[in-house]
Symmetry: C2
Subunit: 208 residues, 2 copies
Amino acid sequence: MPPAGHVPRAGPEVSQVAGRVNKRDVVLRESARLFAERGIEATTMRVIADACGIQAASLYHHFASKDELVAAILTRSDAHITGLYDAILDAPLEPADRLEAMIRATLDNFVHHRDAARIYYRDRAYVAQSPLLTRVRDNAVAHDELWDRSIEAALAAGRVSPRFAAIDLRRLLQELMWSTARLRGDAVSADDIVHVLLHGILAPEPGL
Amino acid sequence: MPPAGHVPRAGPEVSQVAGRVNKRDVVLRESARLFAERGIEATTMRVIADACGIQAASLYHHFASKDELVAAILTRSDAHITGLYDAILDAPLEPADRLEAMIRATLDNFVHHRDAARIYYRDRAYVAQSPLLTRVRDNAVAHDELWDRSIEAALAAGRVSPRFAAIDLRRLLQELMWSTARLRGDAVSADDIVHVLLHGILAPEPGL
DNA sequence: ACAGTAGCCTAACGATTGTTAGGCTGCTAG
DNA sequence: CTAGCAGCCTAACAATCGTTAGGCTACTGT
């Protein structure tokens, strides 16, 4: 039996310099999927390594710790959604249109960073206490403030049902939106979700 | 220093036979809260024991294992929601009314078993594989079928927007409903949630 | 009065956790 | 050709996990 030591690569692809299959990206993708599905603490480094076809110790050549791996996943997603929100902040939009644009931005983030969104949504207690996620948390606070202002403006303009208090509606809307990150992307379209949030599931009254 | 051995009870309450403070119920409540907040696997038996003011080993006088503790929490909640669904199944309701009744039953379960609902919603992978939860899983399948039939009936009656496929709408509705179990109970009323799901957040058009 | 037991304790078990140490291989820059 | 390093390996570490063993205490029913 040969001393093994190094498993030969399966395909003819060269190292990641050629840009073919960057193992770091594989680790990011597989771990994000597992974290989202089973939870951060329930997903061990060895399970992640198995999914990537390497040994647990080898993960530490790409990320210094499990926390840093989680942070890398969430920071990516945070940068994306922050960019979208910044664009909305600068755009001259009417209250209800701004609200819809923010909903669509949130849902768009699910398309590009679905697993990250699910992790953020699911393991909130972890996110709240990780020292590597202060930036993400600070941005989240800013996002919440933008949501609050936008909802208050839409309420003041009479475009949103007056039965809601602004802050309660923000939390309700966020929970409702974030929960849709758990759906398979091809099942329900963003348009459908926006429609439900704005108009509900019922058909327009026929007899009116 | 006294040999300690047994910490004297704080209050004058007698054992649980008198029904004052049943420690088993305390364990159920505290563990449910912790499981819901941090996840099942992230919540250790020692943390649960701390929250109950006892030692980790003492938990095993009330529950044979961590799995059984989880099962006890979820089985309670399952019995409640199953009873509600059974009543709806027997009631002669029009499609849209039945759908609303099912939404309200689900939300009512959140009031009585909020943490259990959050655990079921959050740790789906765990629920799917626990050998002690076959009964709960079987009931969930039956509930899904009731949902599917009710949605199909409401669709056929033209009471639900035809843009949705029945099964996709069921999954969407479930995610939306379940996500509201994460909200503090006093923030948004069940009526508000029902209103959003049925009619959305927008105010009725003023100029029509 | 006394046996039985519910309910808690301390101490420890083996398994698994995240992580580190140290070495081998094969690519790449000079 | 060769030095260096990226990338992976095996082996092992201390800490923590769920769980068990065994004993003490205080209440119960007879």
